[in-house]
Amino acid sequence: MNTPKLCALTAPITTVDPNEVKRFQLLANKWWNEQGDFAALHSMNDLRVPFIRDNLLNAHGGRRPGKPLAGLRILDVGCGGGLLTEPLGRLGADVLGIDPVADSIGTAEVHAWHDPDLRGNVRYRAITLEELSEKGGQGAGQFDAVVASEVVEHLADLETFTLCCNQVLKPGGSLFITTINKTQLSYALAIVAAEEVLRIVPSGTHDWDKFVSPMELERLLESNGFHVESIRGMLYNPLSGAWSWTESTSINYALHAVKLEEEPNLDEDDPEDPTVIVAQAKARRWYN
């Protein structure tokens, strides 16, 4: 076998056949080419990493110098080849990247294992959010933050998605979403211009019907146990290949929401139940 060296260096893919590994490497060249098909996603990190980092630092305070997100557990939903997962891992967080596409997970793993900064704290699983959030799926109430970047515009059922995010987050945890607004402008630019004309994104990537406006998303989140903290517009400049923050949310936008702290229902619970007593005590402290 010609893969013993590979096996010795990386535990997660020992069970993978070497042809698979080659395939992942080819895919990795696509995902990780900063000037390739995913160039716009790479440069979007200049906005989304600081957005996540700074909001988490505000909520949790500074951690070790050099590792601002140390001690935080983050779930990257729809992580793809790991473009956003890796920078978050480098900043010290314990990151789990999930994606239903097994090929993407394989690619992400192959890319990450080279870097000793990532081996300890970045993990990947080929699994959906629903599967993860099921009770016993080891996902409940575990994460300090959930990141769903460029994901919701591909989903059919946003309500379920929101419920699952709530399920896996700790109370007070953060949800970060970046997505595309549903406007005429976004149709003109994100579909026609980006996909058909300029080919910034491969054709057929997006379905305009699935785009969601910030108001709609806010309404959905607030009726499912979240409080929306901020929404910011993002703008892509195809000439420079760079993203910038902007006033208008007509095309791309980023959203930060926080899961509300649980409010135990004092009428219905059994007053003898020790967990209820503890919860009530906590609630009293919180409200005093």
Binding site: A28, N29, N33, P87, L88, R90
Partner: protein, 381 residues
């Protein structure tokens, strides 16, 4: 050493200690003049409270940096007495079993891997050559002779002197009240002769170089003084009183050495996972005293971009911020190098028209405080 370099040194926590006489501020003036005429130019800060620049001996800087490195020993490892024999560059795409980082093979057989290789290995940079980065370069057919000079008498040594001889500029930079540093750029043959001279003759030739007027031609002198009169009519308050350079009595033991001069510029400062800084990227004539400063500027720029990239969780060897470094530094370094090269060529001749031209130029610039302020501001960047 100018402006920002002091900032960047202090950002790194390095203290260059002001030992008696070893760190000499140039308070007032940088006096530069032509050997073929009387034209001179002085650079001084209006407010003499501010020091314009510092001369610091190289070994002082090295000692200070070494000390700081020892304080950072849990983050920085210095491997002395090591030599690189081979670099293996990462492929642009991922290949089975290949490490996607730069591999460095040392003479002792050890192999290191790195996300980012910084080439700081001087004008004959092996990193640059092995990376196949094309370099524009030429030799100046000149060598520089350097020495530590003992002055005839102690003086308030706060002026740097430079005189453009037809063979090349000779400069005296203050080190302390009794010592100055010599940088004499001249032809290879002359440089070798200077090295062979006994101490007394060598000292004589230095003093002659600074004081003699044998290169003045009458025509140029007349033209020069006419122009000066005209200028003083237009701008009566500008211009400065002529000072006299100190005379030299002796030289420091074994301090006389020479090295060849040339100009070099790497067409690219970066590659995937590689960055060049300092003389590995650019090499200039010492006549403007800027060579080291350009290098320190590279360091300040690269450190800032790398720390920003790290705070954004980026792979340090990624192209995006390396490209930013290259653009910013080339934009700054190229005009400076072009200007230095131009000065060198301008002052390498005895031909009367060139001398008259540069005489006028120098005198005119001397009377324009705005222009001089610009020049100083640029050199301090």
């Amino acid at each position: 050493l100018v402006g920002h370099f002091q900032w960047s040194l202090s950002c790194l926590g390095v203290k260059v200690e002001r030992k008696a006489g070893f760190k000499a501020p140039i308070w007032g003036l940088l006096l530069v003049w032509d050997a073929c005429s009387d034209a001179l130019i002085t650079f001084d800060k209006e407010n003499l409270q501010d020091e314009m620049a510092y001369i610091v001996e190289n070994n002082i800087i090295v000692a200070a940096l070494t000390k700081q490195l020892e304080n950072l020993s849990d983050q920085v490892r210095v491997q002395y007495k090591s030599k690189v024999v081979k670099y293996t560059w990462p492929k642009s795409h991922q290949v089975a079993d290949a490490i996607p980082w730069v591999q460095v093979t040392l003479a002792n057989g050890q192999t290191l891997q790195t996300k980012l290789l910084i080439g700081a290995d001087g004008p004959n940079s092996m990193v640059r050559q092995e990376a196949g980065i094309p370099t524009v370069k030429w030799n100046y057919d000149q060598s520089a002779v350097v020495a530590v000079l003992h002055l005839s008498e102690p003086t308030e040594n706060n002026v740097a002197w430079q005189r453009f001889l037809p063979t090349g500029p000779i400069a005296m930079l203050p080190l302390s009240d009794t010592e100055s540093s010599l940088v004499w750029s001249t032809s290879h043959r002359h440089a070798e002769e200077l090295l062979q001279l006994d101490e007394e003759s060598f000292v004589d030739s230095i003093n002659t170089a600074f004081w003699s007027n044998e290169n003045h031609s009458e025509l140029v002198e007349t033209a020069g003084s006419l122009f000066r009169t005209a200028l003083s009519v237009l701008m009566p308050s500008a211009g400065s009183a002529r000072q006299l350079p100190p005379s030299v009595a002796g030289i420091g033991p074994k301090s006389r050495v020479m090295f060849p001069l040339g100009m070099g510029h790497a067409s690219e400062y970066i590659r995937h996972r590689v960055a060049l800084i300092g003389d590995a990227a650019h090499r200039v004539h010492p006549l403007a005293g800027q060579g080291a400063n350009l290098g320190f500027g590279d360091v300040a720029c690269l450190t800032q971009l790398l720390s920003q990239a790290a705070f954004n969780g980026k792979d340090l060897g990624a192209m995006q911020h390396l490209l930013e470094y290259e653009t910013e530094r080339q934009r700054h370094n190229l005009p400076m190098m072009a200007a230095i090269d131009l000065m060198k060529r301008l002052y390498s001749t005895n031909a009367v028209p060139m001398v008259v031209l540069r005489t006028f130029g120098l005198q005119a610039t001397n009377t324009l405080p705005a222009m001089k302020a610009q020049i100083m501001a640029f050199a301090s960047k």
